[in-house]
């Protein structure tokens, strides 16, 4: 179990050697290394085991915990032969990497992170004082469930309490698909409301109008956020110049 904890801390550096050839592959070897070191004493065996892990691998940096935990177990079970261990590990890594990446992207990158970021934005709009509470609160709210998830998934995948198919099944789809987005919409609405209150109806109305326009454009076409930023800024800048003239 001590080794698994080491793997947990190493998993933070998973992408430190990210490259276009193996993607997270080399970092993955770095993460699983303590387990290999525990299993193989002779330098020859250890380097052979390392070389088998030096291959293409890519997934989400949080859900990698599940792969690492289960993979550590697989290595233990197949410690007697490099061939069977290589076959089992590599097949497992290739099978789980993709689906877990999609899951992580969906849950963390496209739902949880925008939602918590929006809470931070709301705190700025509502003028939460003292100001340093905003970044502090954001980092705590975001990380507490995430670190818990990363740690527990690793331990449970290792002990075998967690079947990886189960992870997918047990995800609270309602929370991710409906509740969080709805809460995000409410937060956006409160932000807009706060703007009306603070900056007056003209500026609030302008913001509301442009927000609706951006939402419509983004819903229909793939336009980059940067381009929209310049388009909106240019429009307002010119408009304001004309009015002030």
């Amino acid at each position: 179990m001590k080794t698994v904890r080491k793997i947990f801390f190493r998993s933070f550096l998973l992408q430190s050697i990210w490259n276009y050839e193996l993607m997270q592959g080399a970092g993955y070897l770095y993460c699983i290394f303590p387990k290999l070191k525990e299993l193989y004493q002779s330098p020859f065996d250890l380097s052979t085991a390392c070389l088998r892990h030096l291959n293409y691998f890519n997934t989400h940096p949080y859900t990698v915990s599940a792969v690492l935990g289960r993979n550590a177990r697989i290595e233990e079970e197949n410690r007697l032969s490099h061939d069977t261990a290589a076959a089992a590990s590599n097949r497992f890594k290739l099978q789980m990497g993709g689906p877990l990446a999609a899951l992580g992207d969906k849950i963390f990158w496209s739902t949880w992170r925008p939602f918590t970021g929006l809470l931070g934005v709301l705190a700025v709009f509502l003028r939460l004082r003292p100001g340093f509470l905003v970044p502090l609160g954001f980092i705590l709210i975001y990380n507490i469930p995430v670190i818990r998830f990363r740690y527990r998934t690793l331990i449970k995948a290792y002990t075998g309490e967690l079947d990886l198919i189960d992870v997918v099944k047990r995800i609270n789809t309602r929370f991710i698909n409906s509740i969080l987005p709805a809460a995000g919409l409410v937060t956006t609405a409160v932000c807009l409301g706060a703007v009306f209150y603070r900056w007056g109806p003209v500026r609030g109305g302008l913001l509301l109008g442009f927000t609706a326009a951006v939402a419509l454009v983004r819903g229909r076409y793939r336009v980059s956020a940067t381009l929209l930023l310049y388009a909106v800024s240019l429009a307002v800048f010119t408009g304001s110049l004309i009015v002030k003239w």
């Binding site: 430190s16 390392c50 849950i107 496209s110 925008p114 931070g120 700025v124 956020a225 929209l228 110049l241």
Partner: protein, 208 residues
Amino acid sequence: MNLLTAAILGGFFISDTTAFGQFMFSRPIFCGPVIGLLAGDVSAGLYVGMIMELIWITVIPLGGAVPPDSGAVASAAAYISAGYGPDRGFMVFIILLLVPLGILFKRIDMLHREFNVYFVHKIEEKLGEEDTSYVGRAALYGYILFFLKGFFFLLIIMGAGSFFLPYLYGYLPEIARESLGEVFFVMPAVGLGAVLTAFTFKKSRIAR
């Protein structure tokens, strides 16, 4: 001294995007205010961080794709505008000028990731010689490289930016500066609109 501290701290925050942890230190809403606090004006950092967070709120790093680095831009912008004082027009000016640098940083990042293949070959070579200690060192060197990249990028942008940009802004006519100040109030629209789209027009959902 302050510049150096800000660049070191910022370099650490940016490295969080890829190399270390993904604790979201690299999100503008975090690194903006923190760097702003360091540079003496937390509220400038908060506003810059809030706007930048909104611009890139729905942009996500899918697979091997590298999005423009929001943390690098937010840290630099927060430092420069916190040093200038509370002026909405200046914040907008800084944001509009620095956003393209996020794309420049992304290009540098892609070159860096191509370079990292070097470590893979080196690990392979060392393992061939039965030297396993290099695996750990490679991760450390890899991290240091990610850190240094962000550190030097910020050092240059923060240093040059806080020196030249206030002058440049001073040359603008009064009416242009006031109009830039008006843009400030509408900038959040880009992000709020994107959030509305992302949370309503769902294209992908987790199948039950």
